[in-house]
Symmetry: C2
C-alpha cells in the first residue's frame, strides 16, 4: 500500500517495533514513578524481556535520544515514545457491547490514563441501556452514528457476540471510524484504509495448548522445567 509515499518525512517505523513501543513505555513510566532519572538499554531490555540490541534499534528509529556511555533520560524518552505513538493527543473511544468484557474494558484503568477517553458505551439490549458503567451511561446502539459524529470517535471497540460484530463494524466504518479493535471471534471485513486489530482469547489458549502438547510429546513428565538459566 501507498506505493510512492509523497511526503518527504516518512520515518517508516517497522510494525514489529511499533508493537513493542507500548511495552517500553510502560516500563519507562514505572521507572519514572520510582524516581529513576536514567536507564541503559541493557536495564530497560531486561525489564521488558527483549534483547538489548533490539531495544536500541527500536529506539533508534525514533531518533538519537540516548547518550553514549550513560543511557537514556527516562522522562525525555517517555515523551518521545508517547509522541511517536500518538498519545500526546487525546483519542476518543466508543465501546459497543456492554457485557462482562465491555464492562471490563470500560473499567480498565489503563485506558483513561494515557491518551484515551472512553466517550461512549453502547449496547443493543434495552435492559442494559441506561446503566451506569465506569461513570458513563450506556446508550442504545441505534445512536451509534450520532455518537461517532458528536464525540468525534476515532477508535471503535467491538465487544459484541460474533453474530453482530460485522454489522457493528460496518456502521463504525460508514460513520468514518478508521480504527477498530475487535474482541469478537470473527474475521472482520473492512475496506482498505481501515485498520483492524483483533484480540482473541480462545486463539491464545489454543496456541498455548499446542506448545503444551509439544512439551508432553517427548518426555512424559508434565511439570518439567528445562534446567537452563533465563537469558530471555
Amino acid at each position: 500500500m501507498t506505493p510512492s509515499t509523497p511526503h518527504p518525512r516518512d520515518r517508516g517505523i517497522p510494525e514489529a517495533t511499533v508493537a513493542r513501543l507500548p511495552v517500553y513505555l510502560r516500563s519507562l513510566q514505572s521507572l519514572h514513578e520510582r524516581g529513576t532519572p536514567t536507564v541503559s538499554s541493557d536495564a530497560l531490555a531486561a525489564s521488558t524481556g527483549v534483547n538489548p540490541a533490539k531495544l536500541r534499534k527500536d529506539l533508534s528509529y525514533l531518533g538519537s535520544y540516548g547518550t553514549r556511555g550513560v543511557g537514556y533520560d527516562v522522562e525525555y524518552l517517555i515523551y518521545q515514545v508517547s509522541r511517536e505513538l500518538g498519545l500526546t493527543q487525546g483519542w476518543s473511544v466508543a465501546i459497543v457491547g456492554i457485557g462482562n468484557l465491555g464492562r471490563a474494558l470500560a473499567n480498565y484503568g489503563g485506558f483513561g490514563t494515557r491518551g484515551f477517553r472512553i466517550a461512549a458505551l453502547l449496547d443493543a439490549d434495552t435492559s442494559v441501556v441506561g446503566d451506569r458503567v465506569a461513570g458513563i451511561s450506556v446508550g442504545h446502539i441505534d445512536t451509534l452514528e450520532d455518537v461517532v459524529a458528536a464525540e468525534r470517535i476515532s477508535i471503535g471497540v467491538v465487544a459484541t457476540p460474533a453474530s453482530t460484530a460485522q454489522s457493528v463494524c460496518d456502521r463504525f466504518v460508514e460513520s468514518g471510524v478508521t480504527s477498530v479493535l475487535n474482541f469478537a471471534p470473527v474475521v472482520l471485513n473492512v475496506p482498505t484504509g481501515v485498520e483492524v486489530r483483533k484480540v482473541d482469547l480462545s486463539i491464545e489458549l489454543q496456541i498455548l495448548a499446542f506448545h503444551e502438547q509439544r512439551k508432553a510429546d517427548g518426555h512424559l513428565s508434565p511439570g518439567w522445567i528445562e534446567p537452563q538459566d533465563d537469558t530471555s
Copy 2:
C-alpha cells in the same frame, strides 16, 4: 534452546503458522456447520483474510491433506488441525482474578466448547469467594496449589490487577503449570520451559493510535478511505 533435538519426528511448525491455525479452524467449523463438504485454499483463504499461498504452505506443514484439483475435505481437515493444536485432548484451565475480565473469560463460550475445561475460578477477595460464575463456585486463592494438583491444571490464566500478577504466576509455576495466559499489564518473569502469552488491551489501543496518527499526518481529512479494492 534445545540445540540438538533428540526426537526423530520434529515437524517444527513455524510459530507464525501455529498462530494462524486457530483462525483456519474456526472458519472450517463454520463451513462444516453449514454442510460444506470441501473447500479450496482460495476460498478458505478469502474467509480468513490470508494469502492463499500462505494458507497452503501452512497446511502443508501438517501433511498432505488436500486433493489436487479438488481442495480440502472440511471434516478431515478440522480433525487434523485440532489434533495438531492439541485440542483432541482436554486441557484444564484455572482463572485467577474474578473481576469483570475474569467473569468475561469464564462465560466466554469459545473456551468450553473446544478442548478446554474451566476447572477452577480463584480470587483473593473474600466477598467474591463463593459466588457462582458460569456455574462454578469461586474459590480462595490460598487454595491455588491444591486446586492445580487436584484438577491437573495445565494452563493458568492471570486476570488479576498488575500488582499481584507476578506472585500468582510464580505460584502457578511452582505448582507445575507450564503455560500461562496473562491479561495483566506487566511482563511476567518465568523460568525457561514455561510458556507465557500476553493479551494486553491497552497495547492494542496504542498500536491503533499510532496508525491513526499516521493517517492524519499527511492529508488532514479524518475519515478518509483509500479508493482501492479489498484484496486483503
